[in-house]
Amino acid sequence: MSIEVRGIGKHFGNFTALDNVSLDFPTGELVALLGPSGCGKTTLLRIIAGLETAESGSVLFHGEDATEREARERKVGFVFQHYALFRHMTVFENIAFGLRVKPRRERPGEKGIRDKVTSLLKLVQLDWLAERYPSQLSGGQRQRIALARALAVEPKVLLLDEPFGALDAKVRKELRRWLRRLHDEIHVTSIFVTHDQEEALEVADRVVLMNQGRVEQIGTPEEVYEHPATPFVYGFLGSVNLFHGRAHDGVMHFGNLALDAPEHGGAENALAVAYTRPHEIEVGRFAPGDPGILARLKRALIVGPSARLELEREDGAGMIEAEIPSELHRRLALREGDTLLVRPRRTKVFLNAA
């Protein structure tokens, strides 16, 4: 089932949580709502679920207006960050809950419930835990049970609110791969909220980047990472170096460097910032006449195949972070305190907002 939201607005007091947000979630996709805390992503998810009401705009399920429907009539599956399992019920009863509260004519018989719960427990690979209580499970197990419980009512939409936020790093990685595989198996339209860019890029078919109640960019993980549409997206999706300079006639100047910026062909001596990721920076020994920025190596951190360099610009304009192959680091025989020449290999230029 597809979901659309049209012109959603929501305030909490003076704070604008959502500012006229419109989005499409096509059938069968796994979409990540990504952004810093307070960007409105969770509020949007809760409005789609019917747990929160929007001040303006509408929510459409499969083209039908569902704005006025109560949460329990929307037939969505919702997974909470802190699991929200019923403590006084066994794992089995937790999963069976959605079936047991159905009106009598829709409710499956005891055997139907047992079969359904057993198959869901197999799906989340925890069938040996049926008689345990939630307090006897680990965090990762609890979240899988919460997911099975949400799936028991066969929702047409699955909404996950920071589902791995309360788990430790290793379990989080395992679970997100598992979620991806599960989605490929059952293909239910899913939206999950996260503030972890790695998680969003790894798991989702598409990523929606949000900031301050607005959508900044929508695209596949590759698109948003390789071609960030705004400075915010660039900064949020990973570490970044900023070079301040001026753009004139399609060329960006800073230091003794000139970079092509054809998208700003009309700019006339405008203040601009060039964004470059650490791995897009070239580092070399200083040679007279070579273009580049002079920087002193403050610290080198070698982790596996790559070396992270912290460089301080000689002109006092701050630090540069570069990532080069360890092998190159060894070949250049770099030492802390060396003066090096730094050059961005690839940049994205944004004009300063006036």
Partner: protein
């Protein structure tokens, strides 16, 4: 390495000292005074004891004391839950004031409460003047005893249920409603089982308080033998007649009965907690 050696290095220090203090303290404050009642009673012969505690007037007072306390605790469990619910769930003007009002029955001298209640419910009182023509007599009847005990017991239920309810969190209810549960189903299947242990504790405290209550009841009860005379009053009456053995005999029966009932309630609570999976 032996197990005994390892347990000596517990992370929680002072187990021996703390337990010793606990036993000593309970002995001084609770057990020794209580055992005095048993020792006093032991001076009576078994027949005399039996005759004293099965006298019709004594039996009637037991029935009233335990019965009224039970009914009052039930009423408090129901309405106290509603008060706690309102105080936890909603934000409104004057909430702090109502929150403070709940504790008033704790602080008020019980005699004052009794006199006030009698004034309100007597045939000329604010409420009594409307009830009496309709055939409902409160003051100087067993009903009056229930009213007084309800007043006294209210804070126990509110104060035990309130923190548990506050701790419950909205997420559980949201989860239930997204799964398709109606409000009623959410309450019966999700909220009630979670707060049941606290509710039972509150009920037990209100009940225990009601059984032992003296000051507020004697004013409103009218104290008619066989009808509206509570057991604690009977004890005082016997003391005034220098019948110490008779008084302690009644006290012993009340003690044993109270202990058994509270023990049963504790078992019930333990069962509810276990069922709630909150044990581990």
């Amino acid at each position: 390495m032996s197990f005994a050696l390892r347990t000596r290095h517990s992370v929680l220090p002072g187990f021996g000292l703390a337990l010793g203090f606990t036993v000593l303290y309970l002995s001084l404050i609770v057990l020794i005074p209580l055992s005095a009642a048993f020792i006093r009673t032991a001076g009576m012969s078994w027949e005399a004891f039996w005759r004293t505690v099965t006298a019709p007037r004594v039996l009637a007072s037991f029935e009233l004391s335990f019965g009224a306390a039970f009914i009052a605790a039930l009423i408090n469990a129901f309405f106290g839950l509603i008060v706690a619910w309102v105080l936890v769930r909603y934000r409104f003007a004057g909430k702090k004031l109502i929150d403070a009002l709940v504790d008033l029955p704790f602080a008020l001298p019980t005699a004052v409460a009794g006199i006030a209640l009698t004034a309100v419910y007597s045939s000329k009182g604010w409420i009594g003047q409307y009830l009496e023509p309709n055939g409902v007599k409160v003051a100087f009847t067993p009903l009056g005893v229930v009213v007084a005990l309800t007043f006294i017991g209210l804070p126990f239920v509110v104060r035990t249920v309130q923190p548990v309810l506050a701790d419950l969190g909205r997420e559980l209810e949201e989860a239930a409603s997204v799964l398709g549960a109606t409000r009623r189903q959410t309450f019966v299947r999700v909220i009630l089982p979670a707060i049941l242990p606290a509710l039972i504790t509150g009920f037990a405290l209100a009940f225990a308080r009601g059984v032992g209550e003296y000051g507020s009841v004697i004013f409103i009860a009218g104290n008619m033998p066989m009808k509206s005379e509570i057991a604690p009053l009977l004890i005082v009456t016997k003391l005034e007649q220098y019948d110490y053995a008779g008084a302690t005999a009644i006290a012993v029966v009340m003690l044993v009965a109270s202990f058994l009932l509270l023990f049963a309630l504790n078992l019930l609570q333990w069962w509810a907690r276990r069922r709630g999976g909150q044990d581990s």
